[in-house]
């Protein structure tokens, strides 16, 4: 753990039209750590995740105040290019969503869009490197030009991770990345998260308490749009300080 601040969320309020979704969120996310966001459905954890790469910009009725700082810079200032931001802050979704293209083209998509490769060779090596980092290369190296959608669910999810890695992000957001996967595919993703955190800062939304406990260094518990408690995962799961956190993680009626 580096103990270096990567993302700082300050007094963040988010509204969908009249309805307030997040209330005065303050949270620090450390570099090269895995931070889990947990909480019941509708508590705002996915909304918070989307604030970290301005995915909420795509929703007309969504407004916000407060600050999200990455490496000390406010990501919501007008001069910030959201497309560039999203290459720095990659995202992996609940349902694997490979493009209807070949495995190769899925991974090459980002580097092509951002003009990152000067030659075919360079692009090839970017694709191979990303697939390797995502723990998928060995399984697909003989069929790189087959459709990504033909892979199994777990492989598709790792393909999406490879696609996110291809544009050299610093932060990876994962929104319930394993909820559609079987236990073996889940274990592979969790092992991958363990590997990836050496290089990347990871924020993961998960409904699985056990997954949060297994993969994350720190955990933040949210309830009805508020951040109730955050801290080291070991402490949150062994001895939460807040009644609401305890009720949720131990499966009690809140």
């Amino acid at each position: 753990m580096s103990e270096k601040l990567k993302i700082s969320i300050k007094n963040l309020n988010v509204f969908y039209a009249e309805k307030q979704a997040l209330f005065d969120i303050n949270l620090n996310i450390m570099e090269r750590e895995v931070t889990s966001l947990i909480g019941p459905s509708g508590c705002g954890k996915s909304t918070l995740l989307k604030c970290l790469n301005r995915m909420n910009d795509l929703i007309d009725i969504c407004t916000m105040d407060g600050q999200v700082m990455i490496d000390g810079a406010n990501i919501n200032t007008p001069d910030q290019d959201p497309v560039l931001l999203r290459s720095k802050v990659g995202m992996v979704f609940q349902k694997p969503n490979p493009f209807p293209k070949s495995i190769y083209d899925n991974v090459a998509y980002g580097p092509r869009l951002h003009g990152m490769a000067q030659s075919k060779d360079e692009l090839d090596s970017m694709v191979i490197k990303s697939l390797t980092r995502a723990g998928l290369y060995d399984e697909v190296k003989n069929r790189l030009f087959e459709a990504g959608t033909g892979l199994s669910g777990g492989q598709q999810q790792r393909l999406c991770i490879a696609r996110a890695l291809a544009v050299n992000p610093e932060i990876i957001l994962m929104d319930e990345p394993c909820s559609a996967l079987d236990p073996i595919a889940t274990a592979k993703i969790e092992e991958l998260i363990e590997e990836l955190k050496r290089k990347y800062t990871i924020v993961i939304v998960t409904h699985s308490m056990q997954q949060a406990a297994r993969v994350s260094d720190r955990t933040a518990y949210m309830h009805m749009g508020e951040l109730i408690e955050s801290g080291f995962t070991k402490n949150i799961f062994s001895n939460p300080q807040h009644q609401k956190t305890q009720d949720y993680i131990t499966g009690r009626i809140g």
Binding site: Q210, N239, P240, Q246, T250, R252
Partner: protein
Amino acid sequence: MSEYKDHIVKSFDDDIENIKQLTTQMATLVEEQFKLLYHVIDTASPATIEDILDNEPRLDQYDAEIRDAVITIITLRAPIAIDLRASLTALRISTDLERLGDYAKSIAMRVAALETIPDTNIKNDILRLLTLVQTQMKDVIDAYLSKDIKKAEIVRKNDLMIDEKYNLVYDVIVDQIKDKVPKLKLLTYTKLLFAIKTLERAGDHICNIAEEIHFIVTGEDISTTKKPSQSIEKSLEGINK
């Protein structure tokens, strides 16, 4: 955090409750053993010793049942936070209870071997020491049932009373050995020394249970941190006795 709401999955509550029930039943049986022990010391009744021996296997059975219930709950429910602490400490508490039951039996056997305690004053002193242990036992069960860390703290503090009483009776018995006891009676008095030392140890195990209760409720382990302060002289005195 003082509120303990029900689990959404009701059978989880049943499993946790089952562990609590077994532990309480085991503790109540230990309490009964001490009550019988009182009777043995007071009246030297052989029938009462039989009762103590008869209860012994039931204590072992509770110990095994608690272990089984805890392993099941950890395997099937993957308890965390307070549920995990309540499950794990049940194992440790049942170990303490098993020990306490053992002590009650061994003291009863020792005293029974004497036929009668030669000195009424010493007998009454031992009974008073035993009464202190019984009170502590009752209080720790109360604290466990109500998950009350204040009550548990009182039990921890009151252990000093047992220690003091033990030291007092120890001195009385040693004085007797030194001054008045004929050689033939030496073995009797030595047995009494063992008996009171065992009662003092019983107090320590009750204290352990009180510490476990604190851990269940707060998650804080005080077994190594918050021993009542003791001078070196006092500690040495304890070791010498």
